[in-house]
Each structure stands twice: as structure tokens, then as C-alpha cells.
């Protein structure tokens, strides 16, 4: 016992731990080190060096060797190989042939191309980065407002975490002990709704200012249908993952493996050499380590919170609040919005859920619905200042579009996201319908 507080003040120790963690992370210490180091110190304070260090030594292996988590490397691998198979430009090509005639048609096409790519990619920033290259030049060529062009790519990237496969939804499912399959299914419709709201707001805006987003005609039906066959592999992956989970003929990991196998075969067939394949494997391994380190590192900190009893205390406090549950929910969501300005989405979920989730359940909310809402919040944080990583990405790929312009372009989509969140608050069935269908 360093300062002799022991179990008489475990709550205090817990609060001090949270404060120190925020400080270290803000100072730029890598999250895995900060979380596990503070977790260790906190445990030492609560139960002494031997038991504390021993417990900490168990966590990395125990938290990494969980079958449900094996879906993560598969989902990551699918995304990297999909790049190598050249699937992005084909998606955009098809979407613009089919949707270009709409007001703001090229921007609408971008939304649906990113939604399509979301079906093979679980990462927002990567999706934005690729489409900044593929879609922005085309939009500019047709005289689109550069802020709109940048905004739609930054926002479209966020669809990747809602539409399965999604690493974040898997992690949420595992933290709260929900079915991974149900969570993945639950993200599908809200992802589509988000895309539709994006598209709708673009069309309305383009009606008002047609000069900034002119429709693009001229694609014949022949051209339209000719653009479809290259999309077959992506459709196959969507079909495999959704039907495997929905019909239960494969676990998410197996479905991910089959999806990766399909994309991999397509990459080989299209002549990808050994070098890009090895590269995507090395990148997958790196990203896998990064995510797993985050998982066990934050778990060490959360173990310390467990011993300190903070979670129960928080739940008791929230439940005792004299306010309607929806009011408390909105406060929680606002707190996530603030946190999301400064933290990575996965780290944020790992850190907060063990404390927040029991309270949310005690208030009587649906656990799957809450997962989707929280992930949507985390995604909004990816496109808003001050960090807004997706906007950085777009601006970096297009040095001619300065960051403030990207942020201005995103305003439209920020409004769309707020509308989507409100829609999901009012109609929770959009989230729960598909997973419930699977259960009944």
C-alpha cells in the first residue's frame, strides 16, 4: 500500500486512477502503456505488489485468446486485400453511372460507393483516404464545390464502422457480452439509413444550389450494366457475411475467413503479385497487434476499476438521479461526444463501457441499440473539430483543399448525422429489427 488508503477508499483510488490516465494520455504516452501502467499502480495500491503484478501478467494472454475476437484479424485482412484487388474505383465507377443523373449525383454516388466499400472494410479513415483519391477529382471535374466534395468523402468513410464487417462493433459486443452476430446485423440498417440521410441532404442542397453540384447525365443502360460485374466479389462478401450470421451456418470468424478468401482469390485472379499480398499481410498483422494491445492494455486498467468498485458506485449514482432516463441518455451521449474529440473510438469504448454500460442497462435501455448509438457518436467525432481524423485525411490527400474548407464541407453531413441520431432515438426498431428477426 503506497499511501495506505486500502479498501476503505477504493473509490477515491479509482477516481485518482482515472485522472492520472487522462493526464498521461494527454501528454502523449501510448495508450497501451498509460492504461496498463496506471492499472498496475492502482492494483498495487489496492491489493499489494505480488497479487497486482500477477493479475496484470495474466491479462494480455487471457484477453487475447478469446475465440470471438478472432474475427478481428479476418475483418482487417479483408479490408487490406480489397485495396489490392482494386475494388474502390470499380465501386465508384458503378455508383456514378447509376446515380450521376440525380441532383448532386456524383456526391450521392460517392456516398453509396463508400457504403459499398464499407461492406469489405471496417476502418473509417482508410475508406476516406481511398475515396479522396478516387472520387474527389471526378467531382471537381464536373464542377462540384470543393468543400462539398471533401465533406462527402470524409463523412462517407464513417459508414465503414456501422455496415458489417466492423471491428468496433465486435469489440462492443465482447465488452458487454452480447452476441457478435447480432451487433453486426444491427449496424446494417443504421448504416444504410445514414447513407440515405446523407444522400437526401445532398439532393436537397443541390436543388437549392444546382451550380455547386450539377447532375451528370449521359450514362447509357449498357454502360450501367457493364459497370456491375466487377462488383460481384463485393456482393459475394456482403452475402457471405450477412447470411452466415443471419442464418447461422458459420460463426463471424468463419464468415470473415470466407469473405477474406473470396477477396484474396479475386486479388490473385486479377494478377496481384506476391509483394502486395505480403504487404497487406504485414499491415494486417500490425493493425491486429495495435488493436489487441489496446484491448489488453485498457483491460488492465479496467481490472483495477473492478477491484476499486467504481462501476457499481457509478451505476448506483446514475440510477438514483432524479431525471427521466432519456435525459440521462442524452447527457451520456454528450459526454461521449466530448470524449470523442480527444480519444480513439476503440480506446474510448474499452475504457468507458465497463463503468457506463451497467448504468445504461439499469436505466432500461436496449444493449444492442446503445451499442449502435455509441458507435455512431464515435464516428461523428471522426469528422468534427478539433481532431476529426477523417477530415485530416481528406485534406492531406488533397493539399489544394485546406482543412478549414473540409470542416466547412462537413457541416452538411454533421447535420445529417444529428438527424440520423434523432431518428434512431425515436425509432429504435431500425437498430433492433434485423437482430430480433434473427432471434425469433
Amino acid at each position: 500500500m503506497l499511501i495506505g488508503l486500502g479498501f476503505e477508499h477504493p473509490l477515491l483510488v479509482g477516481m485518482i486512477g482515472i485522472g492520472l490516465l487522462v493526464l498521461l494520455v494527454a501528454l502523449g504516452v501510448r495508450v497501451v502503456f498509460a492504461a496498463s501502467a496506471i492499472g498496475l499502480l492502482g492494483l498495487v495500491e489496492l491489493i499489494g505488489w505480488g497479487p497486482a503484478a500477477g493479475i496484470v501478467g495474466i491479462v494480455p494472454h487471457a484477453k487475447s485468446s478469446i475465440y470471438a475476437l478472432s474475427v478481428l484479424p479476418m475483418f482487417i485482412f479483408i479490408g487490406f486485400v480489397a485495396f489490392h484487388a482494386g475494388m474502390t474505383s470499380q465501386l465508384f465507377n458503378a455508383a456514378s453511372k447509376w446515380l450521376g443523373w440525380l441532383p448532386g449525383g456524383m456526391a450521392v454516388a460517392t456516398v453509396f460507393a463508400t457504403a459499398g466499400f464499407a461492406a469489405v472494410s471496417g476502418a473509417s479513415t482508410a475508406t476516406s483516404a481511398v475515396f479522396a483519391r478516387v472520387a474527389i477529382p471526378e467531382m471537381l471535374r464536373y464542377g462540384y464545390d470543393r468543400r462539398l466534395a471533401a465533406g462527402v468523402v470524409a463523412a462517407g468513410g464513417t459508414l465503414a464502422t456501422l455496415i458489417p464487417p466492423s471491428a468496433i462493433l465486435v469489440i462492443y459486443a465482447i465488452i458487454v457480452e452480447e452476441s457478435v452476430g447480432r451487433l453486426l446485423l444491427a449496424g446494417f440498417l443504421p448504416g444504410l439509413v445514414s447513407a440515405l440521410v446523407y444522400a437526401g441532404i445532398i439532393v436537397v442542397w443541390a436543388k437549392v444550389r444546382p451550380e455547386a453540384a450539377p447532375p451528370v447525365g449521359g450514362a447509357t443502360w449498357g454502360e450501367r450494366f457493364a459497370a456491375l460485374p466487377p462488383l460481384l466479389p463485393i456482393m459475394a462478401v456482403v452475402l457471405v457475411i450477412i447470411s452466415a450470421i443471419y442464418q447461422g451456418w458459420a460463426t463471424p470468424t468463419e464468415a470473415g475467413a470466407l469473405g477474406a478468401g473470396i477477396v484474396f482469390a479475386v486479388a490473385l485472379f486479377r494478377g496481384a503479385g506476391l509483394r502486395p499480398i505480403a504487404a497487406s499481410l504485414m499491415e494486417s498483422a500490425k493493425l491486429t497487434v495495435m488493436i489487441f494491445s489496446l484491448i489488453w492494455g485498457v483491460t488492465i486498467f479496467v481490472r483495477f476499476l473492478g477491484f476499486s468498485g467504481v462501476a457499481e458506485a457509478f451505476t448506483a449514482w446514475v440510477v438514483a438521479l432524479d431525471a427521466p432516463p432519456m435525459m440521462i441518455m442524452i447527457c451520456i451521449l454528450l459526454a461521449y461526444a466530448v470524449l470523442g474529440m480527444f480519444m480513439d473510438a476503440i480506446g474510448m469504448l474499452l475504457l468507458t463501457l465497463p463503468v457506463v454500460y451497467p448504468a445504461v442497462m439499469a436505466l432500461g435501455f436496449d444493449s444492442i441499440w446503445f451499442g449502435i448509438i455509441v458507435v455512431k457518436m464515435a464516428e461523428i467525432c471522426l469528422v468534427t473539430p478539433p481532431i476529426g481524423l477523417n477530415c485530416f485525411v481528406v485534406s492531406a490527400v488533397r493539399p489544394d483543399i485546406p482543412l478549414p474548407d473540409v470542416f466547412r464541407g462537413i457541416m452538411l453531413f454533421f447535420i445529417a448525422d444529428v438527424i440520423t441520431i434523432i431518428v434512431l432515438l425515436i425509432f429504435p426498431e431500425i437498430v433492433t429489427w434485423l437482430p430480433d428477426l434473427m432471434r425469433n
Binding site: 491489493i47 505480488g50 484477453k63 470471438a68 447461422g248
Partner: protein, 320 residues
Amino acid sequence: NVDGPSVFWKISMYGNSRALTSGMEALAEKVAEETDGKFQIRIFYAEQLSPARENLDGLKLNAFEGAGICNFYHPGKNPAWMVFSLPFLPIGDPEVGRYARMRMFEHPAIVADMAKWNAIPYVSGLLQQFELMGKGTPPEKLEDWQGLQVRAGGGLGDAMEALGATKQTLSASETLTAFQNGTVDAAAFPFTYAHVAFKINEEADWYTANLAPGTSECGWVLNKTAFEALPEAYQALLMDNRDLVLDTQQAAYDAEDEVNLQLFEETLQKITYSEEELARFREIAGRPVWEKWVADNQDSFDAQGVLDDFLSYAEEARAR
């Protein structure tokens, strides 16, 4: 009523508060009451203190003072305890099971398994006997099991394979989906509460009522160091209240059974096997699995002795 120092005990448990944990909850209340709040026992649910499979490591490290463990989560950590998972042991009657298991908790081999981990067996979790629920044509005769896909693990899975079924290992939460889509024809869970907990009964057409093919031991163990450090009065308080834990658990299971059995009778077809058929069942799927287990383990401990003692305790209980 009991005077002593202030002591705070942490019990590591997986999952949430439920029938299985009701006994320890009653114990915590009782102990606090008897010591005027000086001896506090708190159960930490949902793997807050340790992953379920590493609870024994946590006890070895003195990280907490007690834990709920399941023998089949880590067969290699408690080889002698795997006797509890053998199929068709004659402990289907709850009274017999309770007596035999509590005698086993004092058996040298069972104690030795825990001693390695600095733990002592405390009380059995009295996990209920498995029964099977399934969809489609009910297997009213043993031959009907041929070719069925059955979700069952451990010794029970081996037993079902001996009948010609194919065993599948699925996590509990995956089972329902597999069930709905015909990937699995039947699923074994502790009867009755687990079938309801995982909503198997909502999908099933039939259930076996008296197969009692076996169970496992998900019981409570204490940290040896912590126990020995307790004043004698506190030690006695724990040991004297083992029946309280068992009674409370049993009552909780019974209460759930009463509701569930009625539900099952109303909505599902009940399959009851005749005594001759059960005997034949045990002959095919019981003893051969026991013998294999003994042969596999005889080198590391006296597996035959453990099995024989367990059987003789069950015999004793039936004679009482």
C-alpha cells in the same frame, strides 16, 4: 454473535447474479450479520476480478479470497475434478448428488487438485443434470440418436457420439442461432434454468425428462492462505454455514424448475425413457467413457480410486 477483526473478502465470479450465486449471497449476508458487519464478503460478478478460466491463477496469486470455478473450463488445471463431468454417474437424484459431491469435496485427490492452486474446495454449486432439447422427430429410442447433430461438450459429448450422434461444440450464445437454422438438432444444457436462459425452449419441439446423462461441477473454492489467516471463529462460521449455501442454491433451482417444468409440459413434447432403456444407455455410453477416462489419467493420479469413491458415496447416499 461472533467477535473478531475487520475482514474484507473478495469473491471472483463469472456471469451475473443468478440461482448459482444465490447461496454465496446468502452466506455473505449471514456472515456480516453474525459478525456485526466486521467480516464482509463481496461477490464481484462478470469477471471483474479475473477471467473465469484464470480464477485458479488468481487464487494462487492471492489476488482474491474466493472464486467460483467450473471444472470443465480448464481440465488440465483440475484433472481429478473431471470425474464430476463423467456421463451417467448415478447422481441424478438431487439429494444423492448433493451428498456425494460434498463427500467428494473432502476427497484427497479433489483437495490435492486445488492445493496446487493454493485453494480449498468449499461447497458444490450443485449444477443441475443436463437434459437435451431438440427440434424435429423426437428420439424416443436410443437408435433415433443416430445421425443427429448434438451440441454437447466433454464426457457428455463422448456419450452422445457413442450413440452415433455428431457432437458440436458451440458457445452457449451461438447455440440458439444454430438451432433455429437446423445446424444443430439437439442441445444439452443444465436442466431446467439454462435452457430457459438461452431461450432454447422457445425453439425446441421436445425435451428429454429423465436421461440425466451427467453434469459438471461449477462450485466454490476459497483461498487457502486467506482462510488460514482467519481467526478460528470466522473459519468455523464459514464451515458451519455450508449447508446454508447448499440449501439456498437448491431452493433457487427448485423455484425456477417449478415455473419452467410447467412451461415445458405445456409447450413441448416430453420424452421419458424406460428404466430398461436407460440401463442400456448407460451400458453403451456410460461405463466405456469412464474406463477411457481412468485409462487416460491413471498415470497422473489414482483415477480409478477417485471414480470408485465417488460411486460408493452415491451408493451410501441412496442407502440412507
